[in-house]
């Protein structure tokens, strides 16, 4: 270790040179040249940055590394869809789509940097998905200030639709409150006097879902008799499960992410003197979560869904599922089409394609208006009966879900698709 010795002084000039070189390297492209372009004709004055008659550039930010990197599979499904459209359909409305993916490692400051890079450096037309509630919260002030569409963000928080100050940002998947409403609706008809025990993850996701459930059962005979929370960093939820089993609840609502979901399912199976109706939320309802617990231990567990599960045999002959599996094999040969996140990516990319095509003006403003003007848009990868609907005051594209129950080694859809909008009225803040 050296301090302020002669060597340091001699190296000073060289160090400064390194710093200067770094500055100069970064300084291509001066200030003031925004690079933004504008439309003429009917859509005069609207932004056409990142879009021409032949090309369309989109950018997405996902955790490709770090603790949430499982979600890094989503862009693979999206890439497969866009490549399919580019090579076999002549592009999106004749435009070849370029989808730039950046990694934020699930860290909000990194997400801010990457979003700014995509907007200012890559000059993308729109941000197509940022993943995670914290990362999206950190970036949406910026995207709305710059008037860049932030389409179909991959998080189920209810704030994307409930907020009115950010017209450029919109969610996609059913928000957690809608999901909670689906379970409440079921209990109201099937078990009107249910006593519910809840295990939930102590963050925005858990609280959104639990809060939505509490609101949805208000005024009914259903009551919550026990609540236990856990941290994402906890090693196990078994102590919480033991506490819950002491209650006399006859329904158990399992609000967890995959790892803890399977722990809770296993613990429930082990506690033989407590046999509630087990409801596990959609996030943890993947077959890959249930298999290690043993299918014989999780029979008749309830959950809900909105898009087609690639491992579900009932979609084996479904036209869209066949197309999806074939194109995944062709364009993403290293990715397993049975991973639900890939199907999720495919579905959301298809939703984007339909929203973009519907836009009157192929401009950023046009896309912004189009994403809040969806009228019963069919997306074949979603369950039959689940469609996208939005309006000026409704920023929730998908608010319908269907219950499903585990029978044998697969989920079986139960009853009809539940449109929570109809059942409970519109969601407001």
């Amino acid at each position: 270790m050296r301090s302020f010795g002669g060597g340091t002084v001699r190296g000073t000039a060289a160090t400064a040179a390194v710093l200067l070189a770094a500055t100069m390297l970064a300084s291509c492209g001066g200030r003031g040249e925004d690079g933004g372009t504008q439309a003429s004709g009917e859509c005069q004055g609207q932004q056409t940055t990142g879009i021409t008659d032949k090309t369309l550039k989109l950018g997405g930010v996902y955790p490709l590394s770090g603790p949430a990197s499982a979600y890094g599979d989503i862009p693979k499904g999206i890439q497969a869809y866009f490549e399919y459209v580019n090579k076999e359909k002549g592009g999106l409305d004749g435009r070849q789509v370029e989808f730039v993916v950046r990694d934020d490692g699930y860290q909000p400051p990194k997400a801010v940097e990457e979003v700014r890079r995509l907007v200012e450096q890559e000059q993308v037309f729109a941000l197509f998905q940022t993943l995670g509630t914290p990362s999206t919260t950190a970036t949406w002030d910026y995207t709305n200030q710059r008037k860049v569409p932030q389409v179909f963000v991959a998080t189920g928080a209810s704030k994307w639709g409930a907020d009115t100050k950010h017209p450029w940002t919109i969610g996609w998947q059913p928000n957690y409150i809608s999901e909670a409403r689906v379970y409440a609706k079921y209990l109201k008809t099937e078990k009107p006097n249910a006593k519910v025990a809840v295990l939930y993850q102590n963050d925005d996701f858990g609280e959104d879902l639990l809060g939505g459930f509490k609101k949805a059962i208000a005024g009914s005979q259903i009551s919550i008799v026990a609540e236990q929370s856990y941290e994402v960093t906890d090693p196990s939820v078994e102590p919480q499960m033991r506490n819950l089993s002491g209650s006399d609840a006859d329904v158990f609502l399992n609000i967890t992410t995959p790892k803890f979901g399977s722990q809770a399912l296993a613990a429930d199976a082990k506690l033989t003197d407590w046999n509630p109706l087990h409801i596990v939320n959609n996030v943890a309802a993947s077959i890959t979560v249930l298999r290690p617990v043993g299918f014989e231990n999780v029979q008749n567990v309830l959950s809900s869904t909105y898009y087609k599960d690639p491992v579900d045999p009932q979609w084996a002959d479904d036209a869209e599922m066949k197309l999806y599996k074939a194109k995944m094999k062709q364009y993403q040969p290293n990715a397993d089409p049975n991973v639900p996140y890939h199907a999720f990516g495919w579905a959301v990319a298809d939703s984007f394609a339909k929203t973009f095509t519907a836009a009157k003006c192929k401009t950023r403003e046009g896309l912004r208006d189009s994403m809040r003007n969806l009228n019963n848009v069919q997306v074949p990868m979603l369950l039959p009966g689940v469609t996208m609907t939005t309006s000026k005051d409704d920023g929730f594209p998908i608010e319908s879900m269907q219950l499903m129950q585990l029978k044998g080694e697969r989920w079986q859809l139960l009853g009809e698709v539940i449109d929570t909008r109809k059942e409970f009225g519109p969601l407001t803040g």
């Binding site: 000073t12 200030r31 860290q107 002030d141």
Partner: protein, 358 residues
């Protein structure tokens, strides 16, 4: 004594005398005498450190008016990291201790500023001293183990602080905003300046950075700096000289935490958003990697380290989408192998090599 050796002796004596006035460059470049260029060259030769600092300052002032907002933002973050690394350099490079938990102090500063702005509507300039004090006090308290532990044990204790912080921030939701974090208003430039938001932020961060660098520079040259070095190099000898190792170690820890807290406050200004996921253990490890790569104990180390922390992860992502972490790790290993004294040391060696050739 033979004639030959006598001659040789005389020769060596005269050799010793020839380079006697090396700093007076006018002697060497008589053709430049009086001209501006000649004087400049003279200045560079006699005070390279000063000239480099001045040139760097000029460039730093030029940057926000020339680059696109995204680049201005990146360089703002380089300076924010540099301030945090300045503190870590004080502790690791000059104090000879180790901290794997500096991300925690960074978070303390960031949250202190955010909570004040969010709950009490404190004007943002006032959050800076408050964040510094908060981090200093917490650093002083947590500095107690630093006086008793060393090496691996201290590393573990500080790592525990960083690990423990994220779940702690998720609790106390009414204050910290829980895992959703706190969204704030961005500092707006006063109207009379005519500056854009990113330029104003950059210039404020630049001002804080300059003060921080000047502060540590003068501190390290004072009695305190010498005491720190003596504790680092030989504790027993330091004690014999009348330096109290325990109090200096604790103070080094607290100062170091204070700089991290100041950086955290600047972070809050820059992003106008804090959440627990922004300050994971990863941040602490990145900071330590940054200062080691930048150059421990060198005055340029924090700045080079800041550049490293800011730019290398995204550069490695450009090169390899699948495994950016791997490229990043390999780069750290490569730098450590080629330049064990960090980038600052490498720059020094390169300069020496050039001198020898020329």
């Amino acid at each position: 004594m033979s004639e030959k050796t006598k001659v040789e002796l005389e020769k060596t004596a005269s050799d010793d005398e020839t380079p006697a006035p090396p700093v007076e460059s006018d002697e060497r470049a008589p053709e430049g005498r009086g001209s501006v260029v000649g004087r400049l060259i003279g200045l560079v030769r006699s005070r390279p450190q000063l000239v480099a600092v001045v040139v760097l300052l000029v460039v730093a002032l030029y940057v926000p008016f020339q680059l696109v907002p995204f680049r201005v933002f990146q360089f703002t973050m380089v300076m924010v990291y540099a301030v945090a690394l300045l503190g870590l350099n004080l502790l690791v490079g000059h104090g000879g201790q180790i901290s794997l938990g500096h991300g925690a102090f960074y978070a303390v500063g960031a949250y202190a500023a955010a909570i004040m702005m969010f709950h009490w509507d404190v004007p943002y300039p006032l959050t800076l001293p408050a964040a510094a004090v908060a981090a200093f006090v917490i650093g002083l308290a947590l500095g107690v183990p630093a006086t008793r532990l060393r090496g691996l044990y201290l590393a573990l204790v500080t790592l525990a602080i960083a690990v423990f912080l994220v779940p702690l921030l998720k609790r106390f939701e009414s204050v910290t905003g829980g895992s959703m974090g706190l969204s704030l208003e961005k500092p707006q430039p006063p109207a009379w300046t005519g500056l854009a938001e990113d330029q104003w932020l950059y210039l404020m961060v630049l001002a804080v950075t300059i003060v921080a660098f000047a502060g540590t520079y003068s501190m390290l040259r004072s009695r305190v700096g010498r005491a720190l070095h003596s504790v680092r190099d030989n504790e027993t000898a330091a004690e014999v000289m009348g330096v109290r190792p325990a109090s200096y170690k604790r103070l080094a820890f607290a100062w170091s935490a204070m700089f991290a807290g100041v950086a955290g406050c600047l972070h809050t200004w820059t992003f106008a958003f804090v959440s627990p996921d922004s300050f994971t253990v990863n941040l602490s490890i990145m900071l330590l990697a940054g200062i080691v790569v930048g150059g421990l104990g060198s005055s340029w180390g924090p700045l080079l380290g800041g550049l490293f922390v800011m730019f290398v992860p995204s550069l490695s992502q450009d090169n390899n989408k699948a495994a950016p972490g791997m490229i990043f790790g390999l780069l750290i290993i490569a730098v450590m192998y080629v330049a064990p004294t960090g980038l600052a040391g490498l720059a020094g060696r390169a300069a020496q090599a050039l001198n020898r050739k020329g």
